[in-house]
């Protein structure tokens, strides 16, 4: 199978099974892109997640654009991005056409019942990112520092990333 077909197939799947949104999708993307296809290693994958957090757009679409470009240039990028939204596009269109009155109670039950799944996906994604980003002494220090800044002092992620990015530059310059 050529790279374009593979990109289309993988990102179509990510769109089709992308429930829960946000961090919940990380485990699915990692499974398909890092573990199965091996298009990225774990470090590169975190970099894609990081870039996605400070640019417009959701992780699934950002990952499609980035990985599509890496594996197949501009055309690969375009195909992967379109594939990642194809299934949601068709499903939403279909439902918009057929569904006229939504039972809010049913939807609420549905979303509540799905929450153990999305939560376990978030935890699995967090575990994999944690395992491959906190590797050495200084990584641990930055992790604890950014945890305190975000959790206790409520720093925004962008601010924290600017700060720890700068810290990373200094440390890298001094120790490597």
């Amino acid at each position: 199978m050529g790279i374009y077909e593979a990109l289309i197939k993988v990102f179509f799947k990510i769109g089709l099974f992308g429930f829960g949104g946000g961090y919940a999708i990380i485990a699915l993307i990692r499974y398909l892109v890092v573990l199965e296809e091996k298009w990225l290693n774990d470090l590169e994958f975190i970099d894609v997640v990081a870039i996605s957090q400070v640019t417009p757009g959701p992780i699934a679409i950002n990952a499609a654009t980035f990985i599509g470009y890496k594996m197949g240039g501009i055309l690969g990028s375009l195909l992967a991005t379109l594939s990642s939204v194809l299934a949601p596009f068709i499903l939403v269109l279909f439902a918009s056409y057929f569904v006229h009155k939504i039972n809010q109670e049913k939807v609420k039950t549905y979303l509540t019942l799905l929450s153990p799944l999305t939560f376990s996906l978030i935890v699995a994604g967090t575990y994999s990112i944690l395992k491959s980003s906190v590797l050495d002494f200084w990584g641990t220090v930055i992790f604890i520092l950014s945890f305190i800044l975000g959790y206790k002092y409520k720093w925004s992620l962008t601010k924290t990333l600017l700060f720890t990015g700068l810290l990373g530059e200094i440390l890298y310059f001094l120790i490597k």
Binding site: G18, F19, G21, G22, I26, A27, L28, Y31, L43, D47, I51, S52, Q53, V54, P56, G57, P58, A60, F66, Y69, S77, T81, V85, P88, F89, L91, V92, L93, A95, S96, I102, Q104, V107, T109, L113, P116, L117, F119, S120, I122, A124, T126, Y127, S128, I129, L130, S133, V134, F143, S146, F147, G150, L157, T160, T164, G165, L166, G168, E169, Y172
Partner: protein
């Protein structure tokens, strides 16, 4: 309202949705309901509920659903493209730059500092979710079970998603 207006509003929303997720819902409400008056709030909330039912990024689903409500198929296509375009372009530019300078000391240092902060942001998200949730025993057990399968047995998330969806949809239909 014509299709160009629709295009530009969703282009604007697309630029402003850093990181994605539910944070952008108020932005849609502001633009579509309050500023433009294209929909009343009740219709908007119905459309939002519909968008939440399906896989895919909520910003994209919502754009397609709103686009369809306003201008049928053409509206859905235009809105979908417009909301994705900003993230596509910005990630493409970053990918071209990043993949050329990936090995440079500056980029390595930056991401050395950023990676652990991404991990801590996810840990914080998990903690916030734990604080918010009041779960039944059954929910906790199914969450733990799925997390163990994902993390330690490296089960394909797609299987868990399919099984959960099946069970949840069946449950919703039997209860209501």
């Amino acid at each position: 309202m014509n299709l160009w207006e629709l295009f530009f509003v969703f282009l604007k929303i697309g630029w402003l949705t850093l990181g994605g997720g539910y944070v952008m819902v108020p932005l849609f409400l502001e633009e579509i309901v309050k500023k433009k008056g294209w929909m009343d709030e009740e219709t908007f909330l119905q459309t939002l509920t519909l968008a939440q039912l399906f896989p895919g990024p909520i910003a994209f689903n919502l754009a397609v659903a709103v686009g369809y409500k306003l201008k049928r198929i053409k509206g859905a296509i235009i809105s979908g493209i417009a909301v994705v375009l900003p993230s596509f372009i910005s990630i493409l530019v970053i990918a071209i730059f990043f993949l050329n300078f990936e090995k440079s000391k500056i980029v390595q240092g930056l991401f050395y500092g950023i990676r652990p902060a991404i991990a801590s942001a996810m840990v914080i998200a998990v903690l916030e979710l734990i604080k918010k949730r009041k779960w039944s025993k059954l929910n906790i057990i199914s969450f733990l079970f799925m997390s163990v399968l994902l993390i330690f047995f490296k089960v394909n998330p797609i299987y868990l998603i399919l099984i959960s969806l099946g069970v949840v949809i069946l449950w919703v239909y039997m209860k209501h």
